[in-house]
Symmetry: D3
Subunit: 250 residues, 6 copies
């Protein structure tokens, strides 16, 4: 089984480095893979992380380096093809950037169908709109980018890169007026970080602490380690990959 | 504001027609748009539905006509470009097929960024892995395709197309053994319907009734109508679409 | 054998709805398939129509939703792949929009070569530049969009959607000065509807009547029904699809 | 105004060289452009011909070098972009290969829309399915590839490359049994040359003569010269290219 | 073995025709293939040249017709697929345009991997940044486009197309100040001809003579003939093309 | 100015890790950027390296993860677009993998033309076929992959990852029989590592030492540091990027 961390290089507001998601994904995947290897519960190959991913919601902000949906899918397909040719049969994405979640689901299925890989997509922190629990109640579930959670994680992992002196609360509380539409609501909406103001973050980093980050990180690593073990033995009633003809794989 | 129903033409097990998702999306969108128009709460243009969408998880089953991720994204982008050129500023997808959810999120953002459209993505029935409540407890949240919910909806909307005599329970209860991975769990997995057996459905249609379908449908229409009204007045603190240069839209 | 109606959603001048070609293609294909099924002369599967197709000549007019040549070809290829995987061996396009004709020929061959399908491309009304007879002599063969023929068809099929009070004659008679170049002449030219003025139609809808439309429609259905029967038994001296290796299909 | 000959490199049966269509298109375009230049009737730039085009119907026959629909369209778009950037405003394709006709129509419009070029598509010999008159009655309109007409043209233009000793009649007369479907009939069909047998030609080259070829060639050149003059002054009631916004050109 | 001349249609300064690279590649390939055929040393098929190639560095100059990297690669892949299907096993590119060199290397490998072709890429005159010796010392190795060498070649091959009265020295001697970066230096740089001024050429055509051109041409032909013979018998320790599975060829 | 290390994850024979090129590119770029920053000679942003690049010549070997030419170009274009939008005006690639050289040249120009970036492409060790001096005379210039040079570099940089016990000499001396064709010869050839045998490396690692690696590395860093300084002030006689219209950038 292979584990591929998905990072991002993108603006995270004035207080966080552009490598935030790359750091969290790589650190969490490394720790989880290490724990699993140490326990002997599964055999895992930790791949080099993808640094540049789908950060189109931050396009136009200095420091954001984004791949289009098309480019990233092609990268993931090429990686999947290569892994299958190398004898890998299971692949777990460990994702640090919420903007990759949707395309990651698409890749999950594409790699299953075309290369027969058993694929899994896990988050360092499950995004709010994927059923995740908000990291901080004071953000009302609106801290989706550079808020309490991510800032805490970075205070734990890379305190030297965090500028708490520049951290400001940017919680779009007006969104609470909607019942159907919103982060984690039944109806999603297409947003850009510039829809929320010029700073680029959405959330409240001012409450972040290294202690909270440590707790979040350790919880994430523990969940990922459990996921790794489950993924190594996960089966379905049938293995449908073999049922497809070449045309269906095209 | 425009409303675009997203259907599918794909196998739904031996008991349901291939047009199931097209029927439910079109019927629900039509009813909701009609209700909103009747109330005068918002001005809505109901677009022709997309019949063929991303049904790659059912590739190889007779009756499934599927577009690749690449093709469907191009279709959605072309539609978005056309709508923007026609003066439309808001677009709500009403989706009847769970397999479209992930790519729909990608399109949501792409159309927002490239064309400045305010975009929204709603489900006739929120999929389990998007936080939706299972339609039937007896399916243990595993009724994701052709199960109690969809079969009930079709018994209500197109009873003549349902073959209850062919309906059989196909609930992959073994999945309950996993804690991290599964439908609606923190870690998703890439699945094909052939991973669950040769019939193609995943769930328990045997408990379906027209009454349950009527209730599900009326609830969906009510939610969609509310969503339409919200979407017509939805704003964010800033309108970031105008902040992007031409290069970022590319 | 499968039948795929190709419609369009595009401006048709101030007097016709944007769904004109979708209506005519769907109605004609449905009637022809019904007649053939009733006669038992051939076994036919009527597919969901493609509503959005190649309407690039009307790009920029409100109400036009167009797919690029690239997108539409990918859609047709995906549909062809799916049909072949479902056991379908023959496919007839029933086309209501002249702007699809050329790409349809390309698809005809591509699906034959790649998937071995026997493919056929028929028009509800053969376009002037494909050898078709003009629907009205008073248009001098220049009524190619929203003129006498299409307006008559819609007066027959959807009279409530036709605004004859807005119908105006827009026949580009200056084109008659050319002998080599023109609609249906030896040399074709690349045109946009905006090359002919701001209204968007090209022809004379003022002479249209429901009676003429009924006659056109019944003739079209009769021709299509004959075509369906012929297509179900059409053969060539050899079946070259089997002679191709995998590389040639790529 | 620019003139672009479209040739082909493809099998033409055992008796004709693979360069047949390249020779006829280049010779005819050169002669016509020369005649027009000599008369001073129009200012023409004769471009280097495209040797390799869309010969997918002959894929798998030795000697055929074919571009896919996708590749050829991209070539034509790149050429159109370059011409527009060079100050060219009108472009006439002179086509020697019937298999290019459909895609050429697509390109005609694409280059008009995207680059504002006035585009025209002419044939050395109008194909039967574009309203052309058959070159020989004895072929019953079925001599579409390597038959009487093309062989005669080559006997006139490149007699040393024609092997009349290998010429054999291959007229698929069974096609005459169909009324709706066929070459030049109302309904076209997707064909490969291997659908008609292993030799690769479709028609009767045995009746070809250099005299008939001379007559065909001179007629073609005369028609093309007239077309060039017409194309140099061709206008429509409006010039719609300027009416499009950047988004519609995309 | 097949030989494919790669020309270009692009500005070459005011003194040379746009067809310069097409002329030199075609003439040199033809002469070399002729010499080899005459000697019986190898069996060679001379293909029609590609006239339009990757001239993006001259985009925007009138007369330049350029294909994008993407388009040209697709053309080369389609040609390679066709050749392999025709039974060709070796392919030599004879390149007259420096701007094709890099993409040609990419194609070299792609055609080897996907179609098993033994591929070779030769230059009429090895570019300075590929280790070639400058044609004229007076240009300090900076005569990369339309300078002494190319002008001399054209004075030899097509004297009637050269306008020596318009030839001016345009040698960017400032580049000599750099040690690491430059034409033929360890670090290459991305340049456009407009980076060097409005005329479009880079070098000194004023020293060109037909005699020098004759010498260059004959040397090139001699080298190409030797290359052809070597290529016809070139082997590596193993033939790795057969070792790849279908997935690796994708 | 930005610096982007281009690594690779690919087989390097039995004695070297798959990350060899990623290690060398990243280490050399980091050291060079650090030296330049320390000297204050130029302002440099060191970007996250690209781990996965164009390793198609090693496709099918376990451990190779390769991007196609198409995918990698799209990645480089997306990165270039993002950098330009972030205000970066100069970009230096520091390449550790010879298989990237050709495509890197293509990207060099594409990013210059489309985004106006001044682009530069440097090698950690200039490949033999780019004019580089062989790292070891005993390899006769044939040590292109996993030979003396790379192995020495890794013995210096990551001795713990080198398995000298598995190192074997694999020098394809038969290539010396060719004069025109070969690594660093006038005519290049398309090769796969499987063309040279099953182990995957081409060269002689048995002579490698950490001392030689240290010398190679320090030389590379010194050259790169000089290149960085040169690149930061490199100019051409004109800045042609501004001369291009939007169409030429497309």
């Amino acid at each position: 089984m292979a584990v591929l961390p998905l990072g991002a290089v993108e603006q995270h507001g004035p207080h966080l480095p552009v490598s935030t998601d790359l750091v969290t994904a790589t650190e969490a995947a490394t720790a989880a893979a290490g724990a699993v290897a140490a326990s002997g519960a599964a055999s895992v190959v930790l791949l080099e992380p993808l640094a540049y991913t789908k950060s189109d919601e931050h396009a136009g902000f200095p420091g954001t380096i984004w791949l289009s949906w098309d480019t990233l899918m092609r990268v993931l397909i090429d990686v999947g093809r290569s892994l299958a040719a190398s004898g890998i049969t299971r692949l777990l994405f460990v994702n640090g950037h919420g903007g990759n979640s949707a395309l990651g689901q698409v890749a999950n299925r594409e790699l299953r169908r075309r290369f027969g890989l058993r694929t899994f997509f896990a988050h360092v922190a499950t995004p709010r709109d994927q059923g995740g629990v908000p990291a901080s109640g004071a953000e009302h579930g609106l801290g989706v980018h550079g808020g309490h959670g991510e800032t805490s994680l970075m205070l734990h992992l890379r305190p030297g890169l965090v500028r708490m002196d520049l951290a400001e609360r940017r919680v779009p509380e007006d969104l609470l007026a909607y019942e159907q539409i919103g982060f984690g609501r039944a109806t999603s909406f297409g947003w850009l970080s510039s829809d929320f103001g010029p700073e680029g973050h959405i959330g409240d980093p001012t409450t972040a602490t290294a202690e909270a980050g440590k707790e979040l990180f350790e919880h994430a690593v523990e969940q990922l380690a459990r996921t790794l073990v489950e993924a190594s033995r996960f089966t379905t009633p049938a293995d449908g990959a073999g049922a497809l003809g070449a045309r269906d794989r095209a």
